[in-house]
Each structure stands twice: as structure tokens, then as C-alpha cells.
Symmetry: C2
Amino acid sequence: MIQSERETAEGILLTDEYQLTMAQLYYRYGLHERGVQFDHFFRRYPDYGGHTAGFCVMAGLEWLLDWMAGAHFRDEDIEHLRGQRGRTGRRVLEDDFLTWLRANGCFEGISMRAIPEGRVVHPNVSLTTVQGPMAMAQILETALLNKLNYQILIATKAARIKESARGQLMLEFGLRRGHDKGANAGARAALIGGADFSSNVGISHVLGYAPKGTHAHSMVQVFMALGESELAAFQAYADVYPDDCLLLVDTIDTLESGVPNAIRVFENLRRRGHQPVGIRLDSGDLAYLSIQAAKMLNEAGFPDTSIVLSNNLDELVIWQITTQIEQEAPRYGVDPDHLIRRLVYGVGTHLVTSWGEPALGGVYKVVAVRDRDAWMPAIKVSESASKTPNPGHKLVWRLYDERGKATCDLLSLDDEDPNGMTQLMLRHPSDHTRYRVVDRGNITGIEPLLVDILDEGREVLERVPIDEMRRRRAADVERLDSGVRRLLNPHVYHVSLTQRLWDLKQDLIGSAMEHSR
Amino acid sequence: MIQSERETAEGILLTDEYQLTMAQLYYRYGLHERGVQFDHFFRRYPDYGGHTAGFCVMAGLEWLLDWMAGAHFRDEDIEHLRGQRGRTGRRVLEDDFLTWLRANGCFEGISMRAIPEGRVVHPNVSLTTVQGPMAMAQILETALLNKLNYQILIATKAARIKESARGQLMLEFGLRRGHDKGANAGARAALIGGADFSSNVGISHVLGYAPKGTHAHSMVQVFMALGESELAAFQAYADVYPDDCLLLVDTIDTLESGVPNAIRVFENLRRRGHQPVGIRLDSGDLAYLSIQAAKMLNEAGFPDTSIVLSNNLDELVIWQITTQIEQEAPRYGVDPDHLIRRLVYGVGTHLVTSWGEPALGGVYKVVAVRDRDAWMPAIKVSESASKTPNPGHKLVWRLYDERGKATCDLLSLDDEDPNGMTQLMLRHPSDHTRYRVVDRGNITGIEPLLVDILDEGREVLERVPIDEMRRRRAADVERLDSGVRRLLNPHVYHVSLTQRLWDLKQDLIGSAMEHSR
């Protein structure tokens, strides 16, 4: 794709055709500038096959806003659209609509609220709400979902891997296996969710992180093809990077060749006053090999060098490795806790693709339409009650219990404030038999989650560095019940509706059902 | 990400840090301009969990070449790299190397061969070979894998879905669930692999395809929120698009409301001399609903309208739907073949993410290094014999049998030509007990697969439209044995080595093992 093609494919035309045909219909019926509200939310946690997330992590907003700020219908875009023909050869989009689109087809009229990046989020909660003129709010749908769904998915996977890594350093290595340029968004989301650094040079520099990496098998192979040895390759690396010497030891044979050669090079470094960083293992039984390598490094007097593990790691594999180390290391005279604390995890494919569940089913649903002075709540009655969206303008509140743990996300109408209620009725979003009544006195904190980020096209989001998003995520995860944080079969976090929102939803469902009879 | 950040993150710094640290090491040892050859290949077909591909489809080359043509180290990139610090605060990359990189850090010295886009490809076959100066050939690795692995993955998934769709129209709908901008590459690959159109407006225009789409649930909801009905929404759509009227019928209730309302609108259209296009079903039991909808449409005199199905479709779901229709349709007086021939499939999430196996494990391995006048073949001995790459400069040949079906891909040394052999020894790549001897007379065609695409930085690829890549794919799939095309448990297609290549590989493995002792 060359530059001019890129501008076409990544600008305002990063949308689905039906958004344009609907926009023209709204134009034709005088509805194109009518106010509408869409809510963006997902319906269930990612299910990786055998294990399911207990929480998600919000991400992607700033990149969405950057895209929106630059997106508008250029002359070239309009010409493309003018060329569209229907079945009979008739133009799909007509001149008057295209003229309107050329002049008005940007996001200046859009207002948005969102839960900030880094915050822990849950199903059926409005993550972003979009208010604005119908044609452009509709056209925004595809890009909004494209930008947010993926980053939330990856921040979530990263948070799980970080949980499993017991606080050890975790590196994002996925660029070669990510989905084309999407891998950059994945690296950003991974950092928000829990990766400490990335190997991806460009995106690391953009985000202010030091990219991480040392060498590949190919370096050792090159030396060997030229008649040199693995040892010579390691020594060369140590000579060029004496203070940052981390050696990949599995090109030939990890325990017979790689680790002994690394130790020889480390001894040379030590004699010259440098501290070696460690080794990387990229194949084989990583638990067994790390125990044996640790034993060899310990015996050679390098007990503090890191052991970096990579090769299709994910949260369960890391869990398996640390469990196996706890069981087996003592047998070889290696302290398992000490070994686990020197491990570093390089996570590639399974993080950047969210292996097992490579898409978040985030949706963007009409919840209200402006009719003269009033907002009319809208609903879509789905085949299953749990899929029916919550209608109308809503607020999102997080309730904290006596322990300071988050106990529930509560959706209310936008004129409700649970702070003023003495008793809170928490209704299940779809099951009328399930509700809780909670005394206000048992709630230690009520926090509104949505913040204004765009006010009629003007950005009002207070942008923060990725580090701050990481702090938010860490703080939110700390305030989750340990059952919700569990990697397998997590407790289901409660998302509830207030009684008034529940009543509105039931009314709308009833009248929609009436319509179909 | 704003424009300047995008240029940093998507240009030459779309690479892994270790490529740069290795490149500096090569520079330090005078190896940076030494010739090297890397081969790009994958080791196994995608395994989607319960079903595995029997062939893959090559894709992504032109976009890789476009990226390479524009990529070089700009002053801003060099300044980013200059800022990198190691553990002790010392610079990671030093001035002399950065000066060299600024002047020479582009792909002008690179030559490439590749199997053209659209061709069917198999494991352990060199899909692209890269020859060039060591530093830049190494730096290229990450971007090459990023651009090619994903498009091959998606073209492959699309080809499977196309097989399952029995020649019916298949539409790519994945933009909202793709991985950020990667979704554009996915749409392109889907078209190469078998999708007939995409809903993605921008990329369709770039590639010269008409983007497809009609309307969403939101349009019906808007009308209903304003006190109108589904019927009014449908009628509005028909008024604006009388010759392209395809209606989404599941917003309220498919059979009770959506289909009857669509039929009323179609009758109006017919009276006015227009032919309705059809309906779309996006939820529920798609087989059952399509039978019932077909029955209603038939009875109303619309037997030729399309029925578009969408909602988490993939090759197995489509197979299930058509099988169920074959079994159930007669019971309702609907001809199953007629119904199947009016179906159109909209495929989103499962195609654009290659659900079940969201990454192709393509790798890029050193196979030869230049030493004075000679090329020294290189090898990496892996834990399992099947992972050890095939060394040296190689050619790839496809052999066709008496039926004209592809029977084997044969890797040879680059001075071998199987056309001149009276008997062909076909050795399994890693299992020494498995080989076939075939008479040249039983082979009806021997086709070289690799073509020159880049000659020292100059593009020599004959670019063709996507349609031509689609024809290549269709022709190659036609020439596969039906067992290889099977969706479940496909026959394993043979990839073999010539005797001389086999001998070279064994020699190198032997001497590498010697090294480790």
C-alpha cells in the first residue's frame, strides 16, 4: 500500500459501507443532524478456551481520538464514493448527500464520555458513549469498534499474564506475529495492561519506553557458518555490550553448550569488572531447563543473573512453569523462590493475538434518539434477554465494600446519584429474579466511572502518560476481590441496574414486543 | 497516534530491538555488509482446534515491497536510537554505527525471490528468500514476518470458507473486530483467498472492489424510537435504494415481523418495477430461519431474492448450515439446492482474526552466509528434527501427476533441475526412513515456484490485480487432490527434498552436533 492508498484506507473511509448507505438515508429523511446516542460495551469476558477472564482493562481511547481529529471526507474520498454503482448502474450515493458529506463529514459535532484507559471494566457497562448528529455518529461506529475492541482485548490479556508472572518483569515480543500494523496498537495495549517493556522499537520510542532485546539464534548461526563457534559469538556480544550482556543459549544445546559457554563469557566479563545480565531460554522444557541453568549459574557464582523465558508463553504456561519449578527445583538443590524471582517473561504470539479469543465482541448500540426537546430511549430486543442493551442515557458507578474492594458496577439513569440513596437496589441486568438490596452504610465508596473526553468535537480528556494508565490498572486490580482475579473460573463480578433503569428497560421491551404483534 | 508518531512507529523502526543490537555487532566485526541469505517459511498448517488446514495461500508481498521501498532511517529515527541507554547509562548504539545506518540503512542492497501471491503454499517450503548485506537483511526480519504471516493466515482462512460456501458469494465483514489497522491487510488477504467483496470502504476502493453493505439494526431502532415502525424503516430504505434493496430482518422478530414486513416492501417495489435484492439474517438458528424465510419469500413470489447470512460464521458453521438445510428444507416444502444457491455469506470476526489459530508461525532463518567467493550453508539444529530448517540456496518445484494434480513440492539445491532427472528421489524433510522414488515419466509437469521480485533493491515483480491472484488461487486449489482440500483431517501434501539437499542437511547437522560436544 503506497502513501496515497494508505490515506484512503486509514482515514474516514475506515468504515463499513452500510454506515454510508444509512447516513444517506438519514440525510434523505432529514434525520442526519438529529441527535442520537450510541453506547459501546461488550457482553462477556474473553473466553480463551478452558479459562475465562474475570475482568477487562480499558484501552485505546487516545488513539481513537487522534484518528477522529484527523478524519474527514477529502475530495479524493468523495470521488471514490461518487464512483459507487448499484445493481442497475445507478449511483449509490448522490451528489447532494456527497456535497453535505464533503462539508460536514467530520466529527466536530460529536461528544463522548468514556471510562479512562487503564481502568478495570466489565460486561454490559457503557465504556464509551457517543452523542452527536446521526449520520456522523453512525459512520463513527466501525472505527470506534476497530480501535477500542482490540486494545481492550490485549490490555486484558496482558493483565492476566502479569497476574500469573507474580510481579516479575514481562516483555511484549509480538510484532512478528501481530496482525500487520495492528501489532503497534497491541504493544501499546500490552504496556497499559501489564507488560513492562516491548521489543517493538518504533512504538516504544513513541510511547517513551526503552525497547528491549539482545540477539537471536541467527547471530550464533552466522558465526558458526563462518567457521567460528557459539562461544566466539557470545564473546563478541559481550565485547560489544559488556554491561548489557544477555545471551540466548539454545541455538545448539542449552545445557551442553549454551549455558557453559555463557558462563565462560560471564567469567571473562566479571574479570573485566562488568556484571553480566543473564541468559534467555527459547525452547524445550523451560521449567526444567531454567532449574538446571540456575544451578549451573549459581555454582559458577552468578546467582543474580536473570533467566529470560520465551516461546509461546501465556498466563497458563507461566503458571505451569512456576508450579513445576516449586516442585522440582529443591530436588536439584535450587531454591525455587530465588529462581522464580530471577525469571523474566518474553511474551509474543499469545499476547498480541489474545490467543484463544482473538476478538472482543464489543458492540455499539443506539440507546436514545433526540425528538424535538426530548431524548427518546431506544432498544433492540435480542433473541436472549442477556443480549438486550440497556437503553437511555446512563451513568456508571463503582461501589466499594467495607474492605475497600470493588463490589459492583451500577448503571443508573443520568439524573440518578446513588450517593443520595439510603438503600441501593441492585438489579441483575436481565434476570428479574436476581437483585440485591444494600445499605448505603455498607458502601465505603461510590465512584463515577465515565468522564467527558470530547465536547462537540473538542477534546476535553486529560491525557496522561502510559505509566499513569498502568498505575490505574494496578490500583483497580488491587481493589478486586481475589476470586475475581483468579485465572481459572473467576467469581462473576456484579454489574447491576438501578430500579428506575430496570423499569425503563422493561417498558421498552414490552412496547417493542407489542410492535411485533 | 498522531502523524509524526505514525511515521516513527510504521517506518523502518517497525522492527525488534535485537535486530539493531545484532546489526551493530555485525558492524563492529565488519560483517554488516557481508552477504547472507534468510529463508521465510512456516512449519505447519494452521490448526483451528478440531480442524486443520490442508493448504495455505500466499499473500502480502506487494504490501511488504511497498513498505520496504519507503523505509529508511530518518534523522528523527536516528535521534531516537541515539537516546537508548543500557543498564549503566552507556549508549546502546554508538555514533559510528548510527552514521552508517543513517547513510546505508535502507533496503537497496536486498534481493528477494518469492512464491507469488495467490499461489497455494505448504509447510517448510521457502516462501520468500532474502539475500543481502547482513545488517539490513537482519533488520528486515520483523517487518517481513509481520506483513507476510498475517496475510497468508487470512488468505488461507478465506480459501477454506470459500470451499465451504460451495461457490456462493462470500463477503468480508471483519473491520470492527480486526486488530486495529491490521484489518485492512486482512480484508486484502481475504479477497485474495476467496472473499468476493468486503464491507470495508477504504480498502475496497484502494483495491478496486465495490464495498458492500446495506443497513444495520440501528436504522430500524431509530425509526422505532421516533414512533415509527420496522415497516416504515424498511419502506424508507426501499425508497432510497429501490434497485439495491436488501433488508436486515431480525431487529424485532425475524419470522413474525422482519420477513413479513420485508415482503410487503418487496411487493411495493415490484409494483413500481423494481426487483428487490433480498434479506439478511444476523441472529438465531440461521439454517431454520433461512428455510422459513425462503418458504415465505417463495410463497410471496420472490424465489430469486438472496438470503444473506451473518453472525460468527466460519467454514464449519457454513457447513453445518448447508447440511441442516439439506436435511430439513424438504420437510417444509423448500428445495434445499435452490435455497443453498440463493445464500450469501457475510463473514467477519472468524475470518479477519483467523479464529482458532490467530497467528501463522512463519519464521525467517539464516540458510547461508557469504565467505569470500563462496556461500557457506548455515543451520540451526532444533530440539526436534522436524523444526530444523533446510540449509543453503534452494529452488522450489511443484510436481504434477498423471491427473494434472499437484503431488509434491520439491526443494532442491539451486544448481539442480528435476526436469533433467529420469528418476526423482523425494526425501521426507526430516524422517530418514521416508522417501519416494518417482519416474520422470509419471510426472506431467514440473513448475518452478519462486520468482524474482527484488533485484538489489529494484522491484522486478510483475504486479497483477487482485483478480489475477484470485485466479491463481482458484487454479491451484483446483489442482489439489480432493483429500487435501477437505475441511476436516485433510491428507498431508508432500513436501520433499532432493537427495543432494538431504545430504547437505545431514552433513551440517552432523558438524553442528560435533560443535556442541
